[in-house]
């Protein structure tokens, strides 16, 4: 069998890989396998994922011309490679990224830790109440009333503190 990648040399590495139910077979020669590092390949390729997520009609031609003032990266660059140009790109492309994040992660709100110097900020954030409200709605929908009651008390507490 010849190598899938170069089609020239004999394939000596045979992968049958299943990532989340999708089977991929790969037969590679020594050289091409080495080029790939012959370890587990990435779970998915982002451009593919984005291809599926960002529907073309959602983006007007104007929006694709968006450019990050800090680093010069454009939104169409992002659509091509799936990576952003700098941390500022997140605010430059905020409107477009929001729905995308919801599709990737199921939410667009960070609930993990804040770096040390910004911990205070976290306590003062009003959007925490918003998040609690969302959780409350979920809990009610799932009929987890005990959790819901706790969440309700927490929200009251925060609002009173203000």
């Amino acid at each position: 069998m010849l190598c899938d990648e170069c089609g020239k040399r004999e394939a000596t590495f045979h992968y049958t890989e299943i990532i989340n139910g999708v089977t991929t077979e790969l037969h590679l020669c020594e050289l091409c396998a080495k080029k790939r590092g012959f370890t587990l390949p990435a779970a998915f390729s982002l451009p593919d994922l984005l291809g599926g997520l960002v529907e073309p009609e959602q983006i007007s031609p104007l929006e694709t011309e968006l450019i990050c003032k800090n680093c010069g990266f454009t939104y169409s660059n992002f659509k091509n490679i799936g990576l952003l140009g700098c941390s500022q790109c997140y605010s430059s492309f905020h409107k477009m990224l929001e729905p995308l994040l919801k599709k990737i992660h199921g939410t667009s709100k960070h609930v993990g830790k804040f770096p040390g110097r910004r911990k205070k900020e976290k306590r003062e954030k009003s959007s925490d109440v918003q998040l609690l409200r969302e959780k409350l709605k979920d809990a009610v929908a799932r009929e987890e009333f005990e959790t819901a009651a706790k969440l309700r008390d927490k929200i009251k507490e925060i609002e009173k503190a203000k």
């Binding site: 000596t12 045979h14 992968y15 049958t16 890989e17 299943i18 990532i19 989340n20 139910g21 089977t23 020594e30 080495k34 790939r36 590092g37 012959f38 370890t39 587990l40 779970a43 982002l46 994922l49 800090n70 680093c71 990266f73 490679i81 799936g82 990576l83 952003l84 140009g85 700098c86 941390s87 500022q88 997140y90 605010s91 990224l97 995308l100 994040l101 990737i104 992660h105 199921g106 939410t107 667009s108 709100k109 960070h110 609930v111 993990g112 830790k113 804040f114 770096p115 040390g116 110097r117 910004r118 900020e121 976290k122 954030k125 959007s127």
Partner: protein
């Protein structure tokens, strides 16, 4: 310490010490971090990459976690050493050997940081057995210390800002490598792993036809990085792993009660081949070592598990060549691999 010193050393994650280390080979947590406002590595100009590396290098060098560490400038690395570090789980295969990129490795290879890979920093903690919680405590403390010195890009709504939006939020990937021959042989794996993926867990590995060829090892990691806290992710992963281990143990029990003779036969034959081969391909050795590992776990054969852990890594292509000290053709490698396995099994025989 130099890079070559690692060849003969055993990484901590191979030491078979952690809890549940019979089934869980290793636990790893990785954090993606970036500097504010500077271009991500793929978009940064060479001089910017150098500037970023210059800013990070002194901070890492003076951090106590890297006191007896190794610093590897990627541009100076040959391809064999690169492959060696990939096999060692210290770098990704995509990490480019170019200026402005360096890797720093702490003692025992528990902590390592890739600078200017996909993100400015990729911080990793790798331990043996099921120790995600300990990995988290260690990496969190290091992360906070580095943030004090460097200041990472962060947004109150979106968390840590990463080059790829799939890592946004915690920037954390918690993963566990598990050995599931029981589920694989009994074919239960076809039910269990898809169920995990429905819970938002990413499973990487090889199962179905020919899964033995990959040693029945599976990497299981969290999917989403946004909308869940780090502790929550760790707790969730640990509880899922405990369940998964339970399934695997049941599968093994069933296997032993139904097919004891055939399992015993398989294990002893694997041992026989490993003891006597003159040529051994990488795939064959991975598969036979997995069978031997199962044999030890089921008390069919009495060998040190450390020996198997060690052989799992030493028999990988770049490791073989580093041990021999030169680059080898695939056939020369198969011969060297067979000899190495024979010698180690002879030395480590405890039967």
């Amino acid at each position: 310490m130099e890079l070559d010193d690692l060849v003969t050393k055993t990484s901590n994650w191979l030491k078979n010490k952690g809890p549940k280390s019979k089934l869980v080979l290793s636990s790893r947590i990785r954090l993606a971090r970036n500097l504010e406002n500077l271009s991500f590595p793929h978009w940064a100009k060479k001089k910017d990459l150098l500037k970023i590396a210059q800013r990070i290098r002194p901070v890492l060098k003076k951090d106590s976690h890297f006191k007896n560490g190794i610093l590897v400038e990627m541009e100076n690395l040959n391809s064999l050493d690169r492959d060696f570090l990939v096999e060692r789980h210290l770098i990704s295969p995509e990490y480019e050997r170019k200026e402005g990129r360096f890797l720093i490795i702490g003692e025992g290879e528990v902590i390592s940081i890739m600078v200017n890979e996909e993100d400015h920093l990729r911080i990793q903690v790798l331990e043996s057995g099921l120790q995600l919680r300990d990995c988290w405590l260690l990496i969190n403390q290091l992360d906070e210390a580095l943030n004090e010195a460097i200041g990472f890009a962060f947004d109150a709504d979106w968390g840590y800002l990463t080059a790829c939006p799939t890592n946004l939020g915690t920037g954390m990937r918690a993963s566990v490598m598990v050995h599931l021959p029981g589920l694989a042989i009994t074919r239960e794996i076809h039910k269990v792993l898809p169920a995990l993926t429905k819970l938002g867990i990413v499973v990487r590995g090889f199962y179905g036809e020919g899964s033995e060829a990959k040693g029945n090892a599976f990497q299981i990691s969290n999917g989403a990085t946004l909308g869940k806290g780090e502790e929550e992710i760790v707790a969730h992963m640990e509880s899922l792993m405990t369940q998964l281990i339970g399934y695997e143990e049941t599968a093994r029990k069933n296997l032993l009660s139904r097919e004891k003779n055939s399992v015993e036969n398989k294990v002893w034959r694997a041992y026989g081949i490993l003891q006597n081969s003159r040529f051994l391909t990488s795939q064959e050795s991975i598969s036979l070592l997995s069978t031997l590992r199962l044999g030890i776990e089921l008390s069919i054969i009495n060998l040190e598990m450390d020996l198997i852990n060690e052989l799992d890594v030493l028999t990988l292509p770049a490791h073989i060549q580093k041990i021999i000290g030169k680059s080898l053709s695939p056939q020369e490698r198969d011969r060297a691999r067979a000899k190495l396995v024979r010698d180690r099994l002879k030395r480590g025989k405890n039967v």
